[in-house]
């Protein structure tokens, strides 16, 4: 039986909230420090349990009524006007890749590489992407290093090389 999106979301949330509350109970020392995390975490956990119960109840009710029809409706409702999962995750992957790039290569190189590659991937022509990448890199470099006198993070590789 395939679970509805809301059921999965609330279940994951329950686990996170339970961890949060238990951490406050066992790890945070003074009562004064742990009181609010337990109270707010507990109240949120209770709300999440209500949400989970409703999601499960709704799921059973719908399946009893008209399984085939509901399954289609459910899929439509879940997807709604949202962007497709695959595309969203790929684009989010680019953001994570950019972060990794900054960590390894530093801001200046990573910004140029990311802006060029991502603009190209989104369908920009090479020339426009190159101009865009140069401009945005120059903007950040001039703004931060020269304007704000703020040295940008150099990245693991350049730091290893002594820059």
């Amino acid at each position: 039986m395939k679970l509805k999106t809301n059921t999965v979301v609330y279940s994951v949330l329950e686990a996170i909230l339970l961890f949060y509350v238990l951490w406050a109970v066992f790890d945070v020392p003074a009562l004064e420090s742990k009181l609010l995390p337990i109270a707010i975490g507990g109240a949120t956990l209770a709300l999440s349990t209500i949400g989970l119960a409703r999601a499960i109840r709704g799921e059973f009710k719908q399946r009893k009524e008209a399984p085939a029809k509901i399954a289609t409706q459910e899929k439509r409702k879940d997807e709604g006007e949202q962007e497709p999962w695959r595309g969203s995750l790929i684009n989010f992957g680019w953001v994570v890749g950019f972060l990794l790039g900054i960590y390894l290569l530093g801001y200046v190189i990573a910004i140029f590489v990311f802006a060029l590659a991502y603009m190209k991937r989104l369908g920009t022509r090479w020339r426009t992407a190159a101009i865009g990448a140069v401009l945005v890199t120059a903007l950040i470099y001039v703004g931060f290093e020269l304007g704000l006198q703020l040295p940008l993070y150099r990245g693991l590789f350049l730091e290893m090389l002594g820059y």
Binding site: P29, Q82, F92, F98, F144
Partner: protein
């Protein structure tokens, strides 16, 4: 009430530096308002890392200018492209776009901009005049009441911003929970730091904000594909635009009523501009001599919608400054900025920092009038901005978001936090959780904890036994009970009918 502050604050506008920021803010606000898919909120989120060491007056003026002018820009795309630049312009397209299709785009844009500019200046003055009524009420507020004011804000934003009540409340709760990370101020014990020195001071506001709002929107825009409607209307000439401006003065009574609706809805915490526009639009239709023309290109529809959404801003700001409860999701960002700049949102803003608050009100009015005049004169050119494709915009905004986070503390960990909260924001957006409520919980969490402990120390466990606190408790109970009761009545009626 210090009436001198109303005049004294006008002297702040003699500073050329302030004017520079006003002009800059107008350009940013119009740009982000015109480009569909991003809004003034995105602009403010990206700017926050750069304004934290600015003077509060300059920084908040810049933010208010952006917020005040975004709807003016958004109205242009609603009329020409049938795509509202911001959610507050959603009702404008109902009659604006049909007018555009009929070849009256210039007239619609002229009416929208004139109504918007006028609405801002009128409601800013009204807001200034009613401050004396609000100040005595604020003086009666003590720590115990502040606890419930914070709770009321989170619950109102969580429950009234649309979507599921439970998800809204959970979002607010999650925001509060994240705010508890780091040292607890009264005991000095660290909470949820997992041994990381970075977490000892708690999570910084800017990386959390950038992650929650800019990353999910950009990921969505990149996935959707960046091309906007191709069937743009055109503006023939300024004579047509001027005709629209005159329409606003011809329908002055409608303008007054719509502004009143917008202002009052704006004052209501968590309501925001979108309901205000639709209420004003429905009211205009009900009272019009030509109700059947609504939706087919009636100028009254454009005027009512734009008067209302632009009027809500002053009301929104008043609630945000006076009570520390944001009137709309955008005002949650203003609240975040106020906190970040070292000011305390709430009653102090209308007493100790009255000059600043009054200047912000004047800023709304003045910048919107300048913005409206600029839009009226440059409407044909401004319309072209809407065609900047997402494939260029998205990488630039992402670069600004991840670099902006670094500017705050010069710490790479902040950049990691942006991406982590980008993921949180992505899932919240995807599954219908309420990001403004989360943000509000996060911003108000430390204030909530501080006032709760003060109230408890001063008045004991029954600290809430005060008229204002009880009033707020009743309001919270009503807010929570309203939805379920309404649904139960609806179900009962349906059962009776069946």
């Amino acid at each position: 009430m210090d009436y001198g502050a109303l005049i004294r604050s006008l002297a702040n506008f003699s500073s050329p530096e302030l004017w520079l920021y006003i002009v800059f803010g107008i350009a940013i606000g119009l740009f982000f308002g015109i480009v569909p898919g991003i809004s003034g909120m995105t602009a403010i989120t990206l700017l926050l890392p750069f304004i934290f060491n600015m003077q509060p007056m300059t920084a908040l003026t810049l933010i208010m200018v952006i917020l005040a002018t975004q709807y003016l820009g958004g109205g242009i795309t609603a009329i020409l492209l049938n795509v509202p630049g911001t959610s507050g312009n959603a009702a404008t397209l109902l009659d604006g776009y049909p007018m555009s299709q009929r070849g009256e785009a210039g007239r619609a844009v002229g009416a929208a901009e004139a109504a918007g500019g006028l609405a801002h200046i009128v409601t800013a003055v009204v807001a200034l005049l009613i401050i004396p009524l609000i100040v005595p009420m604020l003086r009666a507020i003590v720590s115990a009441d502040m606890v419930f004011i914070v709770l009321t804000g989170i619950i109102l934003i969580g429950s009234l911003s649309g979507g599921s009540l439970i998800k809204g409340l959970i979002s607010g709760g999650l925001g509060l929970m994240i705010a508890f990370i780091g040292f607890q101020p009264t005991t000095g014990y660290a909470r949820y730091t997992f041994g990381s020195l970075y977490l000892y001071d708690g999570l910084a506001l800017i990386p959390v904000l950038l992650g929650l709002f800019s990353i999910p929107e950009m990921v969505a825009l990149a996935t959707r594909g960046g091309t906007i409607s191709q069937k743009a209307g055109t503006i023939k000439g300024l004579a047509d635009v001027w005709r629209g401006v005159m329409d606003v003065f011809r329908h002055w009574w409608l303008v007054v009523r719509s502004e009143l609706i917008g202002f009052i809805v704006g004052i209501v915490p968590a309501a925001g501009p979108t309901p205000a526009t639709f209420i004003a639009y429905a009211h205009a239709k009900q009272t019009s001599k030509q109700p059947l023309n609504f939706g087919k290109g009636n100028i009254e529809g454009v005027i009512a919608a734009e008067s209302a959404n632009n009027s809500s801003e002053a009301g929104d700001l008043l609630t945000t400054l006076a009570l520390g409860i944001p009137g709309s999701p955008a005002m949650a960002l203003v609240l975040a900025a106020i906190t970040m700049l070292g000011l305390a949102p709430g009653p102090e803003m209308l007493t100790r920092h009255l000059d600043l608050s009054v200047t912000l009100m004047w800023t709304i009015g003045i910048s919107a009038v300048i913005g409206a005049i600029f839009c009226i004169l440059m409407a044909p050119t401004l319309a072209k901005v809407a065609f900047i494709p997402g494939r260029i915009l998205v990488p630039i905004v992402l670069v600004l978001a991840l670099s902006g986070a670094y500017a705050y503390h010069h710490d790479f960990n902040d950049t990691i936090v942006v991406v982590v909260f980008g993921a949180v924001g992505f899932f919240m957006r995807r599954f219908g959780f309420n990001r403004p409520a989360f943000l509000l919980g996060f911003v108000l969490g430390p204030i909530f904890e501080k006032f709760l402990f003060i109230a408890h120390k001063v008045s004991g466990p029954f600290f809430f036994n005060r008229p204002i606190s009880w009033g707020l408790i009743v309001l919270i109970a009503f807010t929570l009970a309203y939805g379920p009761i309404k649904n139960a009545i609806k179900r009962r009626r349906q059962a009776v009918q069946a």
